[in-house]
């Protein structure tokens, strides 16, 4: 099936900051895709380009074959969008708000009532219909935000961090609602929670520092990262740069980190070596140490999971 959303080398800079950096991805019709990344990864910026809030600095995106810059109005007609933090007009009533959104979207008077009732039913807002927006709980605000995003029966629904700020029960309900919407529509949602994409999405795009670093189904990503192994080493009698170069030179070593020398035992270094799936480097490291006359004080093997990879991204960002 051909791509419904197609981003090619999408780039956005804010002054010197490259918020989104040559991002390419495709979304097929009917898919529910999660854009997963820590804060500041570029999720919102990516969505702002998709929704025609701002054009890409470089690259392009097409929705249903239409370029978002050239055919901006047509693209906007076909998508529903719920921005981060659910901005709503607090001074309006729930029905009045949906009526306004339906009018701006050009839904005919004869269709409007039906469109609103359908969105209300779909999002479980029935009991709130007469309430002012300002009186809604966070969970119901979210539902109202979702209702306006689907009121015109769009092909594509874009949701920016749709469960942030909700309590655990509300999160479960909203995820269920998103899955339900996803059974009929193409959905792109962003989140910084790994469990969320696993609970809701068919496919995950992991974004960090403005770049897509992984793309696949949750199961694929799990098995891809699951096999990765990390060896923690403690080696004595070596020089820092020598050690780093030698470990990096081992066939199959993907990432090498050598720490600062131990304060008490000079010439003792902690190091870690990551290797791909099914690659066991323990023997090679042992032989290297023997050959160079280094003392292998400790070696510990750990299997890395998707959670580990993602946590590393998040922790580094928080630090």
């Amino acid at each position: 099936m051909e791509a419904f959303v197609e981003a090619e080398n999408l780039t956005r800079t804010y002054g010197a900051v490259r918020a989104v950096d040559r991002v390419s991805f495709q979304i097929r019709k009917g898919e529910v895709v999660g854009l997963l990344g820590p804060n500041g990864a570029g999720k919102t910026t990516t969505m702002k380009m998709l929704t025609c809030f701002m054009p890409p600095t470089e690259g392009r995106v097409r929705v249903a074959g239409l370029d978002v810059v050239e055919h901006s109005l047509e693209v906007r007609r076909r998508l529903g969008y719920l921005p981060e933090n659910v901005p709503l007009y607090d001074e309006m009533g729930v029905w009045e708000y949906l009526d306004f959104m339906a009018r701006v979207r050009g839904i005919e008077a004869s269709e409007r009532g039906r469109a609103i009732r359908r969105a209300v039913a779909r999002c479980g807002l029935g009991a709130m219909i007469g309430k002012p927006v300002s009186a809604l709980s966070k969970g119901y605000r979210q539902r109202l935000g979702l209702a306006q995003a689907v009121i015109h029966d769009p092909d594509l629904v874009i949701l920016d961090e749709p469960t942030t700020g909700l309590d655990p029960n509300q999160i479960v309900e909203i995820r269920q609602l998103i899955r339900q919407i996803g059974s009929e529509k193409t959905v792109l949602l962003s989140t910084h929670i790994l469990q969320e994409v696993e609970a809701v999405c068919d496919r995950v795009l992991i974004i960090n520092d403005g770049r897509i670093i992984a793309d696949g189904t949750p199961a694929q990503l799990h098995s891809e990262f699951q096999g990765a192994q990390e060896l923690s080493l403690l080696i004595g009698g070596a020089a820092h740069d020598d050690l780093s170069a030698a470990l990096g030179g081992i066939a199959g070593a993907e990432r090498v980190q050598v720490g600062e020398p131990d304060a008490r035992n000079s010439g003792v270094f902690a190091a870690s070596v990551t290797s791909g799936k099914d690659t066991d480097l323990r023997e090679a490291i042992f032989r290297l140490c023997v050959q160079r006359g280094w003392v292998l004080l400790e070696m510990h093997r750990r299997v890395v999971s998707l959670e580990d990879i993602f946590r590393k991204l998040t922790v580094r960002e928080g630090a």
């Binding site: 804010y14 109005l73 979207r105």
Partner: protein
């Protein structure tokens, strides 16, 4: 093409919402009531203190009154959308930036016209009590509409550049005040600059209309200022595309 149709529908929907929003807010009533009371005072003071039933003092005071009143009506229009984040959603609806600006502007203008409509009581009363030149009143009201419309457009542009209603008010007030003041200090300007100051100043153009002279050049002056400010607001909204909003 359906593009245009949808655009106007969008502008109309925004107008409707905005107009209703004014009357859902206490601030709007306060501002409008204050305007009516002050206008009424200028009218009543001549009536009772001088025993004259005339709207002359009222139309003399009006340009300065509007310097406060118009930016106060316009300040929330776009600033509040930036503040609450609703701008992000509004702009991604299938409406052009111009439709957003136009819908908002017309709503503010309609609110102003409601308030201004109530002030028609003053010339009507004056007409009952004394001699009022009907043609002059009509012309002066056209002048008020154009002047108010201009100041509202200035206020709307000011409201596009900031997320703070207070900042939007101060900025709009400042620009309107400069336009107003130019006419007052024109006599002090160096001779070569006088024609320029007169051409830019609001006073010169409003004075003709208040006297009962509807000159197309004056009308054109106000309409061009309005168009300039609305386009300014549109380009400020579009600034998000290149800037770092």
């Amino acid at each position: 093409m359906s593009g245009k149709g949808v655009g106007m529908t969008g502008a109309y929907a925004i107008f409707r919402r905005e107009f209703a929003a004014y009357f859902g807010q206490p601030v709007a009533y306060v501002v409008i009531t204050a305007y009516l009371l002050i206008c009424g005072w200028f009218f009543a003071s001549t009536l009772f203190l001088e025993g004259q039933a005339t709207v002359r003092t009222y139309f003399e005071a009006a340009p300065l009154l509007l310097v406060f009143f118009a930016p106060a009506i316009a300040m929330r229009l776009l600033a509040d959308e930036w503040r609450s984040g609703t701008m992000e959603l509004l702009i991604t609806l299938p409406v052009r930036d111009m439709d957003v600006v136009l819908g908002k502007y017309l709503a503010a203008l309609a609110v102003f016209m409601v308030a201004q409509g109530v002030t028609l009581l003053y010339p009507l009363t004056a007409g009952l009590l004394g001699n009022v030149d009907g043609g002059q009143v009509v012309s002066a009201y056209i002048g008020m509409l154009l002047l108010g419309g201009t100041y509202l457009a200035v206020g709307l542009w000011a409201s596009a550049v900031t997320a703070s209603q207070v900042v939007a008010f101060i900025l709009g007030f400042f620009v309107c005040f400069v336009l107003f003041l130019l006419g007052k200090v024109v006599a002090l300007a160096p001779a070569p600059l006088v024609p320029l100051a007169e051409a830019i100043a609001v006073d010169t153009h409003f004075a003709n209309l208040a006297r009962g002279v509807v000159d197309s050049r004056d009308v054109l002056y106000f309409l061009s200022l309005i168009a300039l400010c609305l386009l300014g607001a549109v380009s400020t909204l579009e600034g998000r595309k290149w800037g770092s909003r």
